[in-house]
């Protein structure tokens, strides 16, 4: 990549931009009470929340991969009436206030919800207040990141490789597995990481849809929120952990998520 001497105006504006983002984070760090940090972070509640957060976010990512990759494939490859509308509908959770998303999830999968009612009546399955509910909530808000990234990867890949594979005798499934997927692997990876990071930070939809029970649905962001009420120093410490994990992901990815997104 060629570098360039940046114009002063740009540097100034960009510096203001960076400061705008970095100062609040510095603020958080400056308010943390490092003396009690170790104790706060290794308390059973914190560890339980951290463990649950990992389980929920990873499961949400897996679910998003399972449902999202086929969805992205259809968006990228199959033109059908109303595709734009459907795609917009499935992108909404990215920008909807998560609390509204949580309420909507209740209306669909809650005990009185459109589907939830049937699930309860027929199988006795209830989703809210379970870890499964937390996973669903996280998937709901995070999956659009994956779908968009994978769709964009599929659109920019050279489809002629798939043609080549077909003339070599590969059926569509084999083509997908052995050619398409390896070729869009960077996008899938980037999408999954973004999705994971978003799921890790999910709060509003989870608390509304799945509730807040330590060990079952109380993920790290919920623990942060609860701690904010009474022990802000713990909340700040937990936030910093969350922040550190996300930051680590974003840095480890470097240009990946950029290329993919």
């Amino acid at each position: 990549m060629r570098s360039e001497r940046p114009p002063a105006l740009f540097v100034a504006l960009a510096a203001v931009g960076v400061a705008f983002f970095v100062l609040p984070l510095v603020g958080l760090v400056s308010r943390a009470s490092w003396q009690t940090a170790l104790g706060d972070l290794t308390s059973p509640e914190a560890l339980t929340a951290l463990r649950l957060s990992l389980v929920v976010s990873l499961a949400a990512t897996a679910l998003a991969l399972l449902l999202g990759v086929p969805l992205a494939w259809i968006y990228a490859r199959v033109p059908f009436r109303g595709r734009d509308v459907i795609r917009a509908l499935t992108t909404l959770p990215m920008i909807l206030p998560p609390v509204v998303g949580g309420v909507a999830l209740l209306f669909a999968f809650g005990r009185r919800g459109l589907v939830g009612q049937a699930l309860d009546a027929m199988f006795g399955i209830r989703i809210p207040f379970t870890t499964a509910g937390a996973i669903l909530a996280a998937t709901f808000v995070a999956m659009p990141f994956l779908v968009l990234t994978v769709e964009s990867g599929l659109r920019s890949m050279d489809r002629r490789y798939e043609d080549a594979a077909r003339t070599l005798g590969a059926g569509r499934w084999l083509v997908f597995r052995r050619v398409t997927l390896p070729l869009i692997a960077p996008s899938v990876f980037a999408g999954a990481v973004l999705c994971w990071a978003r799921a890790l930070g999910e709060f509003g939809a989870t608390i509304t849809f799945a509730g807040n029970l330590p060990g079952t649905t109380q993920t790290l962001p919920l623990a942060v929120y609860i701690a904010l009420e009474t022990r802000p120093e713990v909340a700040i410490m937990l936030s910093l952990v969350l922040l550190g994990v996300s930051l680590f992901i974003l840095i480890a990815m470097r240009d990946r998520y950029l290329r993919g997104v």
Binding site: D163, A164, A165, R166, T167, L168, G169, A170
Partner: protein, 349 residues
Amino acid sequence: MLAARVALRLGTLDLDVTIDAAPGEIVAVLGPNGAGKSTFLRAVAGLVPLDRGRVEVDAVVLEDVALRIHLPPERRPIGVVFQDYLLFPHLSALENVAFGLRARGVAARDARVRAGSWLDRLGLSEHANARPGALSGGQAQKVALARALAIDPRVLLLDEPLAALDASARGSVRRDLKRHLASFAGVRIVITHDPLEALALADRLVILEGGRVIQTGSPAAVTQRPRSRYIADLVGVNLLRGTSAAGQVAVAGGASLQSADAVDGEVFAVIHPRAVALHRARPEGSPRNVWRGRTSALDYQGDRVRVGVEGEMPIIAEVTPAAVRELDLAEGGEIWVSVKATEITVYPA
């Protein structure tokens, strides 16, 4: 044997092409950009559905719109070498060649052995484990060829197999390609817009323009009797169209030529630039066709110079650099042109 009638519309392209090829024949499909060459190839391979038509290989119908038959690409006995080769970037050369065998259910180990022997045959065993990114253009082309041949197709389609190569590498790769094509027994169709490539590789040429076949025949026949500006330009001859009567050809623009060939009616007339003589003054003697013009462009081509002459009958002449000096040719200068009647080939349009 391949018998294909391919008719379809795609964007602005209206393609309707019929091509038959006997086993062992090498057919070159030649045409300008956007003529529909690649689309034709994709249709034969099953990658683009036909609107009308039928594709048959060795008496097996692969596609027939009327009968609602459409075999998907993976079930056609057709190997394709794509433009840019399209080697899978995440697989090694060997894995690329083995891909088709694996897709056809050959066991992994077996497929690798057979792929390896294909690479051997093309002199690429050293590069078996190289990723496509690490191969030169010529090597990549050979791997693409091995990959297409490894599935033992009845028909081999090649889309501009030399276009991705550097000019200086093209000659030797073309010679190798020719040798390897010769060792394949089925039908081979080579798509190109380079006449040298077509002439060097093919037994028969099919000229495509605007989605239609406008001429077909042996390389010699096509180059000697071009039926369109496109081919005449490629071959580098002057092509005129006119009406012939009693050895006198009236060409568009009012001028008239004498020819030794006796064909009447609508005709094409071909004059090789070498047969066009240039003179400072009006020439005396045998040439029957003499006219005046103005040089418009001098085009040096190594040991020859192509001179464009404008006037009532625009024409291109080919002379030596020495002649340019002697005649003191300069762009825009006046010049006399003569062509012997025997140097004008006339044939029905």
